[in-house]
């Protein structure tokens, strides 16, 4: 049981526990496979450099936080271009809205709101985890998701 509760002891343990989820999150945040690949690598390299990880029940939020910050940094450095093929991978299915519409709408959000929207609405994470990942209060996380949702709805009309 101790092992189950404890944080990862090796980089490999951390990777095997979380890499697919973080890769999927990176794909949804960036909308492009190449960027998701970079973001996934930057996230785990940063985690390795910042070793040790927190205890196990905080591990995932820790990685989401790193990934989110890395994504925001990348966003500030440049505006990515959009490939139609990759948008298909990035966007979840929603009735009456094409994948491209939704992914494009997400891309218009400012980085903090985009991360909040993806974490909560696309990934389905509880507000507690969204707040941890974005280093803000749960109330602030709710506000960001709400504002992002309004903007996405507006741009899909």
């Amino acid at each position: 049981m101790e092992r189950v509760r404890s944080g990862a002891r090796t980089f490999g343990e951390l990777l095997e526990r979380h890499e697919r989820e973080i890769f999927a999150y990176a794909l949804r945040l960036t909308g492009r496979r190449e960027d998701a690949d970079d973001l996934y690598q930057e996230t785990f390299l940063a985690a390795f450099r910042a070793w040790p990880p927190p205890r196990r029940d905080h591990e995932r939020a820790w990685l989401y936080k790193i990934a989110t910050n890395k994504a925001i940094d990348r966003e500030r450095r440049r505006r990515p271009t959009v490939s139609v093929e990759d948008l298909r991978l990035a966007a979840p299915d929603r009735d009456g809205v094409t994948l491209i519409d939704l992914a494009s709408a997400i891309r218009t959000l400012p980085p903090g709101q985009r991360a909040a929207f993806v974490l909560r609405t696309v990934e389905g994470r509880p507000y507690r985890e969204v707040a941890l990942a974005l280093e803000c209060s749960e109330e602030a996380a709710r506000t960001r998701v709400s504002e992002a949702t309004k903007k996405v709805r507006a741009s899909l009309r």
Partner: protein, 213 residues
């Protein structure tokens, strides 16, 4: 979302991540799981050579603690790094390799264990020895029980051939990978059963504990 594509792509991304982590000096030990005729083997390769072989898909606690104590947490999945020993193991299991050339890394074990495992490494393909004879080879005839313990905690079975050590009465003794695996390895090497038969040991008081490798 096409999860298959994501999975494949994530595997490629992982390979690039591991490459970068190695280049930055963050990844010190590579591991992978090999399928073998004696079941899955978890294999780890460190800076000096093969650091562990475990009869499982995961490392055992003892080996993982030893590796982390010696090389830190930079233990990463790295199929390329275990490639050379994986190829040797494949040739061994197909009867085309009689002596492993890949170096072994015994960091983090005691001087006594090292002496025993060094003596163990000299037992040739297909040869059988006993814990008592191995104790003599390791320079301490009276220490056969302790030698049994050191053989039992051999971190690199198959490559360091603890399966070639049997009980003094000629029965199999024990094996970390299970007696079926030990039988299989000895049959592969010798094509026959030893004179004492393949049963697990009877009541020889001079023999080491059953939990030995």
């Amino acid at each position: 979302m096409n999860t298959t594509l994501t999975h494949d792509h994530a595997a490629e991304a992982r390979e690039r991540l591991v490459h970068r982590a190695r280049r930055e000096g963050l990844a010190t030990v590579g591991y992978g799981v090999l399928d073998s005729p004696v079941g899955p083997l978890w294999v780890a390769v460190g800076p000096r050579g093969v650091a562990a072989v475990t009869f499982d898909r995961e490392p055992n606690e003892r080996d993982l603690r030893r590796i982390v104590a010696a090389y830190g947490p930079g233990v990463v999945p790295d199929p390329r790094r275990i490639g050379p020993v994986a190829r040797e193991l494949e040739r061994y299991f197909s009867g085309r390799l009689r002596a492993f050339e890949t170096p072994v890394d015994l960091s983090g074990i005691t001087a006594f264990q090292r002496r025993v495992l060094t003596a163990l490494a000299k037992i040739r393909y297909g040869e059988l020895t006993t814990y008592l004879a191995l104790a003599r080879r390791a320079g301490n005839e009276k220490a056969s029980r302790a030698v049994g313990g050191a053989v039992g905690s051999n971190p690199i079975p198959i490559v360091l051939p603890c399966h070639r050590v049997i009980a003094t009465d000629g029965t199999l003794g024990g094996y970390g990978g299970g007696l079926d695996a030990k039988r299989r390895l000895l049959t592969l090497e010798r094509g026959e059963t030893p004179a004492g038969g393949w049963s697990s040991r009877s009541g020889d008081t001079h023999s080491p504990p059953r939990s030995s490798a």
